[in-house]
Symmetry: C3
Subunit: 388 residues, 3 copies
């Protein structure tokens, strides 16, 4: 008991600190201080100031709504005079983080279930029924082959298919784009972000934006960097593409919103940064289904109650709103990890200088004698000690 | 060769350890131990126990399906008696991580392509044709102006537009909300999560939930925290808002599912935590398109084959299911990083105590003498050594 | 001033290095070198080579488009002969990161607003009007009860509801699946990824893929691992399920694209890896709405202008494209953190050996005497110093 207390006491009231050789030398001293300074500068300057190593970080959680505005008219022989508004060209009517604006289309009206000749192509042109396999449906077929070879027009015969008739002919995409006026449509992007770790939330309609401003502003990187209303044409141009080109075959545009926030500063410094990028890197070498398009149909009944549909192959631009960013806030854990490993790095200064002093300098034996005390093992020869 | 072996042998069979001054002093000893204890407590308590610094973490990958249930009826002069079920009020029918429930609407029936007067507004009221610019289509227009000024009703004249006629009049939103009974609709949220790094997956319908329970339960934070069926009204109330208010102009609600899992424990402790948040912070100062709404149309053909549509401006609540969370599992890398930097921090204790002992205490010269051995450079004066 | 310079000079031209006891002992030396080697091997081998601790990492930002292809026909007594193409079975027509393929359906044609008997069930079968509560609408009701008990067929009476009539009867799901031929449909997945931190982007259609190859290839893990066209049947089989089973009640399939890239190597080594997983772990114990289905309707007008609809309860497979991955690139910060903590860990070797040498070995008193210099505090007894 008493012995235990003595040991505990001895342990508690003890303080151990390494014994140090303090070498007073201009060369070595300066070298040592320089190396220490460099490491300190790195730790403080780079890790703490530049990379904010004292901060805990969190990734953004976001919600987005997009509202398109704009109306245009077209006048073609097929469709006649027609007005296109939001309900016509936004498909589907709402999505979570993106919006699709139809800019071009191949429309096939009044389709019914029936039998009709295929569109002429490599595998569909035929001369006799023997060229058509009944019941087959290839990946690119419009329907299921009946096995008959029928007249497509006066000169050409193609395999007959059971399909929605007449079959869609998408060999020619309208040029210029059917809804080329979509260039002037606008998107209002409302974005609300949240950093769960710091319970910090903010929206892209900043507090200092007035209603009057919102009614008239259009985003511009220089003059209106915080206006959340974007002209489609400007988005595409900012990404370095031509709207009229992309409008023909469609594409995917990314509206990137970057929220990099230093939450150690005031919340008002946490601002959205918009940038635009084309996401479907159009590669001229790979024109298998270039751009972006999909098919949808409007179904209705004719006077006899039979189902009919208008098939639309919609080409257009899908605008994906991509929200990303990191928020940082002072936290003791990363600070301590960085201080700890910074201190460990300071030890490198001593190791480096030791190597130079003890191995490279002329007076190395003199310094070694000062730093080391050699202790030989008993067996190898006791008493052979070179003290200091 | 032999020399090389000797050097290698000397290197292999050498062991160097710093020489230590062991000061036996109550004051200094206690101080030293206290600082060491604090650092140790921080490293173990905070880094390892609280922040689980010994764990590798991974972010969740999730898939969500949502199914709405509920039916209600309305009786208005315009639409007559009408029943609304899931296929009527969920638009679009399916989405990936969200579901939109229509709660209010401005319906414009039997629209056709044609010419009609605009809804009166600041820029649309006119007195003569001179007030209307032919061919113009503003951001907020319903159509393309023909340049004529026509009678809107007996007293008022507005510019004529080519548009889907009659033009939608959304100046008055129904109050209370048209489908106010949506408060009692329910959402069944099925969520499956996966932590790729640990190949751990789980669903929010826990193994101990019975089919009978699932048929009748409604989520409640206190009584049924793991029931995946939510009453719309309760979701909105939990977020601190009034359902009947939000139903009028729409909004975005976040259903947050948090999967924070310590995979060092049994999988059954890894449980979903639900919380609710309104994502479109309704800011009274900014009522440019407040809430959430969008337009869609149902197209059909009249007896003459002309295209007609019913335009619906749908106000409603979009429920975004936001799944987040981190799983942690023991891993040697972060453990070692934290132990390494913890050890480095322990060195701080010695540095701190050294500063006090060698610079602040009365007996500082005595201690300095014990700790340091001063070695002068030859040039500056040999033999001027103050050993210990 | 002069004093200050002297102190500064002394500080600058000083170099302190710990004094070391160098013990020449085979046992202790070997032990020490072994422990150091192990720690060094861990730091270099595990942290740097295996876990690439010298790299900064970034998470992927991705955009996805999916295009389904395929056509099939059905021949049933209810619908007659019918062709199904993309516009019929993909609902909605486009989504951001997923695509839904309808494989089965319960179709209820020609529904109108009206009064009709409920489908028989536990709560709907009645004998008198007293069994039916007027105005009630349960979670699973098709409409709002009128309070009357009417004949459902010759033998059975059920409560009457105001609803879209006739009411949908989904008690029997078609087996085998209605569109069982969907097994041969294909999906073309176009995926574009971006690592914002490194400004590195790539697409899953690799540069060496030719157009001819893209026209004919089908993904196969062994023969065509980089073909972005997937046969639905193969996807489901790769995940270990039967397509015909999943087609009946629907389900969610995950198409996972993993982009783990080491950007210190050439960009051509950064390749997508596809894998497939069923996301709705079908749990036989919980068959509350098993699989995946939703309802949608096609609206039209009959000859009298009344609204009618065809209600479709669509069962099918939702393919969620899940893109994940991390890119790593050399960065000085994590390298330094890991070196720092590796060095700190090297200190552990000395601590471990010290414990053994000073507390466990026979000659511990001899070594202790060499390592420590004991300094007693004045008060406790000056001059009681045991110097080496």
């Amino acid at each position: 008991m008493t012995g235990c207390c003595t040991v505990l006491g001895a342990f508690l009231f003890e303080y151990d600190t390494p014994r140090i050789v303090l070498i007073r030398s201009r060369k070595v001293g300066l070298m040592n201080r320089t190396v220490q300074l460099l490491i300190l500068a790195y730790v403080i300057g780079w890790v703490f100031v530049w990379e904010k190593g004292y901060q805990e970080t969190d990734s953004v959680v976001s919600s987005v709504t997009v509202k398109a505005k704009g109306v245009t008219m077209t006048n073609t022989s097929k469709l006649g005079f027609r007005i296109w508004d939001v309900a016509d060209y936004v498909i589907p009517a709402q999505e979570e983080n993106s919006v699709f604006i139809m800019t071009n289309m191949v429309i096939t009206m009044n389709q019914t279930q029936g039998l009709c000749p295929e569109i002429p192509g490599k595998t569909t042109v035929c001369e006799t029924d023997a060229n058509c396999t009944a019941g087959s449906a290839g990946t690119h077929s419009s329907g299921v082959s009946t096995g008959r070879c029928v007249s497509f027009n006066g000169t050409l015969k193609t395999c007959e298919v059971a399909a929605w008739c007449p079959v869609e002919d998408d060999t020619e995409v309208p040029k210029p784009a059917f809804l080329k006026a979509a260039e002037n449509f606008t998107l209002l992007v409302k974005n609300n972000i949240w950093y769960p770790k710091f319970n910090f939330s903010k929206r892209n309609i900043l507090p200092n934006i007035t209603t009057a401003y919102l009614k008239t502003c259009i985003y511009d990187a220089k003059t209106d960097p915080f206006c959340p209303i974007f002209r489609l044409g400007k988005i595409v141009e900012s990404a370095g593409h031509s709207f009229q080109d992309i409008a023909i075959e469609g594409g995917i545009m990314g509206i990137q919103i970057k929220w990099n926030c230093n939450l150690d500063r005031a919340a008002s410094f946490c601002l959205p940064r918009y940038s635009f990028r084309r996401l479907d890197t159009r590669d001229l070498a790979h024109n298998v289904s270039p751009g972006y398009n999909f098919r949808f149909a409007k179904y209705y009944r004719d006077l006899n109650g039979a189902e009919r549909r208008t098939l639309i192959k919609a080409y257009g631009i899908r605008f994906d709103i991509i929200v990303f960013g990191k928020a940082g806030k002072f936290d003791i854990i990363p600070t301590m990890i960085n201080i700890g490993s910074g201190l460990a790095l300071l030890g490198v200064a001593t190791v480096l200088c030791d190597v130079i002093v003890l191995y490279c300098m002329k007076k190395r034996y003199y310094y070694r004698e000062k730093k080391y005390k050699y202790v030989e093992d008993y067996e190898q020869g006791l008493g052979n000690q070179m003290d200091q």
